[in-house]
Structures are given as C-alpha cells and as structure tokens.
C-alpha cells in the first residue's frame, strides 16, 4: 500500500509542473508591466528599464520560467512586489486561517449534510424527503456570498450577536463556516441520499434485517459503511472546491487568509504572489485528493485488499 501511495505522490509532480506552466503563462499574459507597477506613475523610463533588468524581465520567457521553477523547487517563490516579503513566508503566514476555515466548513458540511441525506433516503417519497431534498438543492443554488451578506444582516445588524469581521474569537468563525460549507453540505446531502437508496435495496441489508438485527445497527454497520465511499469521494472533490470558496468568505468577513491574499495580489498585479498562491492551492488540492484515497482504504477493506495484491 505504501508503494501505491508513493506512486500517487510521484504522479502529483507532473500535475504541479503543469499548473506552474499554466499559471506562469496566465500571469505573463497580463498587460501590465510589474516594473511600472512597482515604481508608480512618477518613475522615469530609465528607472523602469533598470528595474526590469534587475527583476529578470528582459530575459526570454522560457528562461524566466526556468528560473522561477528551479527557485520554486528550492522553496523560493520570489518576493512580493507590494510588500517585498518572501512569497512563501506570506503564504505560510496566512495559510493557518484558510486551513481552519476550510476544515470547519467541511466539518459543518458533513455534520449537516450526512444526516440530511440519510433522513431523506429513509423517508423516501414523503414530505420529509421532499423538504430535505429541496433544502439541499437550494443550498447548492444560492450564491454563497449572498448567504454571507444575509447572515451578516441577520446576525450582526438586526440581532447583533456575532461580529461581522475579523478573526479573533470563535464567534468570528461561525458565519464564515456556514458560508463556506453550505454548498458542500448540499452536495453531500444529495450524494448521501442517492447512495443510501442504492444500498438499502442490497441483499446483504435484507439478510441483516432477516437475521433480526436492530434497525439502528443495520443502519450504522451495514448501510452507512457502504454509503460512505461515494460520499467521501464527493467530499474530497468539494474540499478542493471549497478551498476556492475561501476567496469569497475571506473577502466578505475580512479574514486575512490565502484567498484574500490572491485576490488582493491580482488587483495589485503582484504577480509573484499570484503565481505562488495558485501553485500552493494546487498542491493542497493534490494532497487532499491523496488523503481521500487513503481514507478509501480505511473505509473499504476490499480496496485495501486490492492495494495489497497490487504490491
């Protein structure tokens, strides 16, 4: 199994290499000149030229890319144009807030979405099912930034019990968690429902019932363990997705995280930060996908056995 994961880890390298090329190309398509941005409108043509030379912007693109890549491999993502701090340092400084948010969002999504889906499936074709399913569909459809604003209106302005911005106490985390998790919650609920409906009809479930096992045990031991696999897949995919969602959440609630760093960097044309930030996001998505695979083996002995025999 270890060998399988080493293999998967190695497969991550070409993907990250591809991401670095894509983001490098996107950033260097930008019409603005970083040297001009750094020096401001009052700079002379001569100064701009000198700085371009210094930043290596006069070299051909593929040389610039090579320098960027070799430096990145050494952990050097360049320096921010705006703050002059090393990009990696800025990213790592802001990463904990983003990771906290993303994890809490996922936790919220699972703790609400899973029971919702289970309930809907157990009461299939009743009003409970219709309500749960509609709730999930609404959660999937409403824009999360609007949810954020409406929550703020309700809980910070009309009934002022929660702070609308900042990142100091647990109270700051409640609304961002909901905003970030609501879409994933909806997806998990839908996936759980359809997966449940499939599993409920399986022969082994009928056998378990026939043996006289209590409903609760059948649900937890026989049904849920099998429902979890597709749900974990979807949750894994959406974790990467919700990492993107932090861009919105962090902007609305003024949380100093990675998403806001990237948005601010794009507005300020701070290209080293954009490059480094996106690359870091891709790395996170890749690692999450790998962890999801690991989780499969834990959840499903059949997959574990496959890995063993593949050795």
């Amino acid at each position: 199994m270890l060998r399988y994961f080493t293999k998967r880890l190695i497969f991550l390298i070409p993907v990250l290499l591809g991401v670095s090329i894509v983001i490098f190309a996107i950033v260097h398509l930008a019409p603005g000149d970083p040297a001009e941005v750094m020096l401001g409108p009052s700079a002379t043509q001569e100064d701009i030229g000198k700085l371009r030379e210094q930043l290596g912007l006069t070299k051909p693109l593929y040389v610039q890319y090579w320098i960027f890549l070799t430096n990145a491999l050494k952990g050097d993502l360049g320096r921010s144009i705006k703050s002059n701090a090393p990009v990696l340092e800025e990213i790592l400084e802001r990463f904990p807030a983003t990771l906290t948010l993303a994890s809490l969002g996922m936790l919220f999504a699972i703790t609400v979405g899973l029971p919702l889906g289970v309930l809907a499936a157990l009461k299939q074709n009743t009003w409970v099912d219709a309500l749960c399913s509609f709730f999930a569909l609404v959660g999937f459809s409403i824009p999360n930034f609007w949810v954020g604003l409406m929550l703020m209106l309700l809980l910070s302005i009309t009934i002022p019990i929660l702070p609308s911005s900042g990142f100091d106490s647990w109270k700051n985390l409640i609304m961002p968690t909901i905003v970030l998790g609501i879409q994933t919650m909806a997806v998990i609920a839908r996936m759980t429902r359809s997966s449940m409906l499939e599993v409920i009809r399986q022969d082994y479930v009928r056998t378990a019932r026939a043996k006289g096992i209590s409903d609760r045990l059948v649900l937890t031991r026989h049904i849920l363990t099998n429902v979890m696999i597709p749900v974990v897949t979807i949750a894994g995919i959406y974790f990467g997705h919700s990492l993107g969602g932090v861009v919105i959440t962090e902007t609305i609630f003024s949380i100093p995280g990675l998403g806001r760093l990237i948005v601010d960097a794009i507005r300020a044309q701070d290209y080293p930060v954009v490059q480094g930030g996106v690359l870091f996001f891709a790395l996170c998505v890749g690692i999450v996908n790998l962890l999801v695979d690991l989780l499969y083996a834990v959840l499903d002995p059949r997959i574990k056995a496959q890995y063993r025999s593949a050795k």
Binding site: G18, A30, I142, W146
Partner: protein
C-alpha cells in the same frame, strides 16, 4: 448512455405502423420529462426568465441607468418595487436588466467550455493513445486549480471585460465537458455504425461530427444545463469581487457588491439581486436534474 442510431430501423420505409412505434428518442425523453413536475416547473421558470431578458425594455418601468439623487436609497414602494439605490436608480428595473447579462454570460461561457472541451474530449476519445493521454493530463492540470481561482487568475491577466469574463468562466469549465464527451466517445467508438462509416470511407472529422457527437448529446446537454447554472454563479462571484462586469452596468453580482456598503440602512439593495441569482440558478439546476433523469431512466429509482 447513448442514443443509439441502432434504434432507427434499418429499413425506414417499411410501413407506417413500425415508424409510429419507434418515434425519435428525443420524443421519448420529452414524454418522460413532461411527467416530472419539478422539471417542468424549472423549465417554465427558465423560459420565463428568457422572456424577461429579451423583453426587458418593455417590462422595466424605468431606465436602469437613469440616476436621480433626489430619490436615492428609497425603500421598496409601489412606485419603486425594489427601492432605489444610492444613485436613485430603480432597483426593479436594474434587476430586470440584470437577467440579460447573467443569462448571456452563462450561455456563452458554457458554449465556449462545451465547444472546446467537447472537441478535446471527442478527439482524445476517438484517437486514443498518446494524444488522448496528453489531453486528459492537461485537463487534470486545469482541475487541480480550484475553478474560481483559475477564473480569477485569467480575468486578472486578461483584464476585466464582458468577453474576458465569459472566456475565464468558460475555460474553468472546460475539463468537465472534455471528460464527459471523452467518456461517451469511448462507448460509441467501437460500435458497428462507426465501423460502417469507416468502411464506406468517411473521414475522421466526418465520423466524429456526424456519428460520434450526435450520440454523445445526452450527457452534453445535461452537463451544459447544470453548467449554465454554475457559470452564472461564477460570473456573479467574479463581478462581486470587482473582477467581472463593472458598474454602472446592471449586473446582479456587481449590484450586490455595491449594495454591500449600505447593508445596514438599505438591505433591499443586496436582498433582491441575490434572490434573482438564486431563482435562476435553482430553476436551471432543477431542470437539469429532471433532464438527466428523463435521459437516463436507469439512474432513477
């Protein structure tokens, strides 16, 4: 799931009774769709919204860009159904006009994603081998970047404009169409009618366009319907962040963004555009779900 041409009788001229029985597969889909109440409701709302978008000038009571400082920030009333914004513009008219941009961006962005993604997927699936491998690895790279961040980066690089917004959203959706089309191409590729076309000497381009793609339409249509919903959400998100449609154009995301600073005193500025986005996206999602069910009844239990 493929709409096999095999269902078309080989000798189509053999009597009316037989033809009567085997109506086109699309008619069958339509029949199943009609029975799904939720899907019909979703479809009705989508059609209604298309009407609103097309006939916006007739429906909107005021010019959406007509400013009048004297009546700024008025709460909803009989005269101004959704109130007025900080420039005294009628919010109801702006929300009506906003449907134009949202639907336009949604459909064009999906068009870009589906056409280019579809070509990549069909070519990869049809030829297989190294080319297929290369295309799919490129899609993996695009999928490794969270969609919204990819779109933000592209818009940031190209600059903010309507066209760039559509390109950015379209590109960020490209991989899913490539995957869907590739998967169905693979199932169709080995079938007899493709071989028959090859045998009579049809070119690859012609086989892909005339034999393979028509048989992949079902999943493409479902994916596109749901894709329009997500494209509308993504475009609104970018506009909300100030990276999409710029004010003063009446667009829901940017209206939300500028209404945000008046959240305390004029919450209706953020309430109504959000409701509008939600309704469009919800209707498209319900319709897309129903469409998927009626295209593939096996999935429905």
């Amino acid at each position: 799931m493929t709409m096999n041409e095999k269902t078309v009788p080989a000798s189509s001229g053999s009597g009316g009774a037989l033809r009567e029985k085997r109506r086109s597969p699309w008619w069958e889909v339509w029949r199943r769709l009609r029975r799904n109440k939720a899907a019909v409701a979703g479809m009705t709302v989508v059609i209604l919204l298309l009407f609103v978008a097309v006939f916006a000038p007739l429906i909107a009571p005021y010019d959406p860009n007509q400013t009048n400082i004297k009546i700024r920030l008025q709460p909803p009333s009989a005269e101004h159904l959704m109130g007025t914004d900080n420039f005294g513009r009628d919010m109801f008219s702006r929300v009506i006009y906003g449907s134009r941009i949202s639907l336009y961006v949604g459909f064009i962005a999906v068009g870009i994603g589906a056409v280019f993604g579809g070509i990549l997927g069909a070519v990869g699936g049809y030829y297989g081998g190294r080319l297929d491998n290369f295309i799919m690895r490129c899609m993996d790279v695009l999928l490794a970047i969270p969609q919204i961040i990819l779109a933000i980066a592209i818009v940031g690089a190209l600059g903010t404009s309507l066209l760039n917004l559509m390109i950015a959203v379209g590109i960020s959706q490209l991989p899913r169409y490539a995957r869907v089309v590739r998967a169905s191409t693979l199932t169709v590729r080995g079938q007899e009618f493709v071989e028959a076309a090859k045998a009579i000497g049809a070119s690859d381009t012609r086989i892909i366009l005339e034999n393979i793609l028509p048989n992949c339409m079902a999943p493409i249509i479902v994916q596109s319907t749901l894709g329009v919903a997500q494209a509308i959400l993504a475009a609104a998100t970018l506009s909300f962040l100030g990276l999409g449609i710029q004010p003063p154009t009446a667009e829901w995301g940017s209206m939300l963004s500028s209404g945000r600073q008046f959240l305390r005193n004029a919450p209706y500025l953020t309430f109504f555009p959000g409701v509008a986005i939600s309704i469009v996206v919800l209707a498209l999602n319900i319709f897309g779900d129903g469409l998927r069910d009626s295209l593939d009844p096996k999935l429905r239990q």
